[in-house]
């Protein structure tokens, strides 16, 4: 397998970063983010770029990222845009790649498509491949756009690939931005259903996914667990924040984010346990909405450039920007 060179930059280096996903790793006190097919390391105090590494090539798709404490490694998912349909009609690089957060060396790919129930996506066209990844501490959870079956949620132990969900759960025909991991469950949006499906975090059988909540008027695209009230919240990319009040009973409350800021369209949301706020990036408005689940009120933070996500280090909050303006910008 190829081993890609890590590029080291001075703090003053300008670059054309358009970040798509990010994670904070407390053990090395660094922020890591994906920009195209590169993983970029940032100083968590200053937000300055320190180095970057290409995950794989040729790949034109975007990458998602998580840190898995059990192995001490980052894991990046790579998929291919339709642009990549041309490479002799094979797509060998759709996979999950481990990265050492200290050395920034890309390790051996997990070869997920060959070891799980997803279809042989290495030779199929279109937009198949892994599109989201998260870690529960023990397992990785991966959303895979599968040729034969639609969108699949997989559970995988990266240290023992045989330890995985044996039956994939096929969500619906649309992608979502991110799922939620609660202490006991995984909850994923069904944007096309529309609703949220959930299963025990150690799920294995399809039957365990039979429970879902429906939101007839809303198309959730991202879910987040909020430890303040032990509930899961969801956004629909259209200005609605949904709180699942009683999972399994389709009981929910809708909060209108456009009342906080007109035109709000967050498609991700993150719970900041340090300040008790839910952060929602609004790309079109170049802003964030901070929602207090305790008072059920929100405030707007402006002055950002196409923010897609947010990172919390414990002492600072950083906007993750899909923009060449500056990749990370502190939210104060």
């Amino acid at each position: 397998m190829p081993c890609f060179k890590s590029f080291v930059f001075s703090a003053a280096t300008l670059g054309e970063y358009a970040l798509f996903d990010a994670v904070y790793v407390a053990s090395v006190d660094k922020i890591f983010a994906t920009s195209g097919v590169h993983v970029v390391k940032f100083n968590a105090t200053t937000g300055a770029v320190e180095s970057s590494v290409r995950i794989s090539s040729p790949v034109n798709g975007q990458a998602r990222l998580c840190y898995h404490a059990a192995t001490g490694l980052l894991y990046a998912t790579i998929w291919n845009e339709p642009n990549l349909q041309y490479f002799s009609l094979t797509h060998p690089n759709r996979d999950v790649y481990p990265i050492n957060p200290t050395t920034m060396v890309v390790g051996t790919r997990l070869n997920i498509a060959s070891t799980t129930v997803v279809d042989d996506d290495f030779v199929n066209g279109s937009f198949f491949g892994p599109r989201w990844i998260a870690s529960s501490g023990n397992y990785l959870y991966i959303q895979w756009a599968d040729n034969a079956n639609g969108y699949v949620t997989l559970r995988v132990n990266p240290s023992n690939l045989a330890d995985r969900s044996t039956n994939a759960y096929f969500t619906d025909q649309f992608l979502w931005e991110h799922g939620a991991l609660t202490p006991t469950e995984i909850m994923v949006p069904d944007p096309d259903y529309p609703g949220v499906s959930f299963a025990p975090i150690g799920y294995d059988l399809d039957a365990e996914w039979n429970t879902c909540d429906t939101f007839p008027l809303y198309f959730p695209v991202a879910c987040e667990y909020v430890s303040f009230d032990g509930l899961v919240y969801a956004t629909d990319g259209a200005g609605n924040l949904l709180r699942l009040d009683n999972p399994g009973a389709s009981a929910y409350t809708v909060f209108d984010m456009t009342a906080v800021q007109s035109g709000a369209d967050p498609c991700r949301l993150r719970w900041n346990v340090y300040d008790g706020q839910i952060y929602m990036p609004c790309m079109t408005n170049n802003s964030f909405i901070l929602w207090d689940p305790n008072t059920v009120t929100g405030v707007v933070k402006t002055g950002f450039a196409n923010p897609v996500d947010v990172i919390f280090t414990g002492t600072k909050v950083w906007a993750v920007q899909n923009s060449p303006a500056e990749p990370l910008k502190e939210i104060t």
């Binding site: 590029f7 097919v37 290409r54 040729p58 845009e81 992608l175 809303y218 198309f219 498609c267 899909n322």
Partner: protein, 304 residues
């Protein structure tokens, strides 16, 4: 950066980074300005300079990620007219013409070029992919090819009289007169071409297949071609785009995996592999310099 063009009227290079257009100094390669075209847009964008209007045109599409924005519409799949000062961006309204809003998955505009008179865009539509000709000063003056391929292309070639389009997956190419009307001819080439370029130095078309083959089209009808081997220069050569620069009379082939650019001399049919780049996807030329367009944190690096 996913694409770049040189603007001869002000000597600047313009490139696309995510949903932004960036302006670079044509001499130093340093970024000078940037401007967001639309939001929310996740797809990569392509760009060209159109001398007839002295404006930039940016083609936008949406990745499947974009499926999530309720109520499942994708209003920003279009071609955007952008001024050189990077202060205004106006959609041409082609998305409505094409019926792409709302449409599922990866429909949109995936390539754009200018003949000097018209714009040509690759449309990922339904049920297929095709090429549209547009006069941006008169949108009613338009034309399309028939459905011609099942996969998206990286680049078509425009000569003074023809448009030559690769057909990935169908192993061949199609060619049209510049009006895209009446004349539709195809040639079978047993390679999955993904990018084509016209070499004004010898009047021939060249194609790349995303691997070590460089296809020289000797005659379009009946088809006659020569397969040239890039593998001897770089075993992992995988160019998916190809550019001809009249300044040197050479063809430039960016190789992402090898982090290099092959510079090919069509007169001697020999080349040189230049290393030291980072994920190069394209090349752009000013009057005096050649630049690698890198899908990497540093967007431009001079080819010397």
């Amino acid at each position: 950066m996913n694409d770049a063009c040189y603007c001869s009227s002000n000597g600047k290079i313009y490139g696309t980074v995510g949903p932004y257009v960036c302006q670079y100094n044509g001499t130093t390669g340093e970024r000078e300005n940037f401007f967001r075209i639309g939001s929310p847009v996740y797809g990569d964008m392509r760009i060209c300079y159109h001398a007839a209007t002295d404006k930039l045109y940016v083609a936008a599409w949406h990745e499947p990620d974009e499926q999530n924005f309720a109520p499942l519409t994708w209003p920003q799949r279009d071609v955007f007219e952008v001024n050189l000062a990077l202060t205004t961006s106006t959609a041409l309204g082609l998305g409505a013409l094409e019926g792409l809003n709302p449409m599922p998955p990866y429909t949109g505009y995936r390539w754009i070029a200018s003949s000097g008179i018209y714009l040509y865009v690759s449309v990922s539509g339904t049920p297929n992919y095709y090429i549209r000709r547009v006069d941006p000063a008169n949108i009613a003056d338009t034309g399309t090819t028939s459905n011609f391929l099942i996969f998206s292309i990286e680049q078509a070639a425009i000569s003074p009289t023809q448009v030559v389009v690769p057909r990935p997956g169908s192993q061949g190419l199609r060619y049209y007169n510049l009006a895209l009307g009446g004349e539709t001819a195809s040639s079978l080439v047993p390679y999955s071409l993904v990018g084509m370029e016209y070499n004004s130095g010898n009047g021939l078309f060249y194609g790349v297949t995303g691997d070590t083959n460089l296809i020289r089209v000797d005659v379009l009808t009946p088809i006659a071609f020569t397969v040239l081997n890039l593998g001897a220069l770089e075993a992992t050569a995988d160019p998916c785009r190809i550019r001809y620069w009249s300044g040197t009379g050479r063809l430039y082939l960016p190789c992402m995996t090898a982090n290099g650019v092959i510079v090919w001399n069509p007169n001697t049919e020999s080349g040189e592999f230049k290393s030291g780049f980072n994920n190069p996807v394209d090349c752009v030329f000013t009057g005096s310099k050649s630049w690698a367009v890198q899908n990497a944190p540093i967007g431009l690096r001079e080819i010397v």
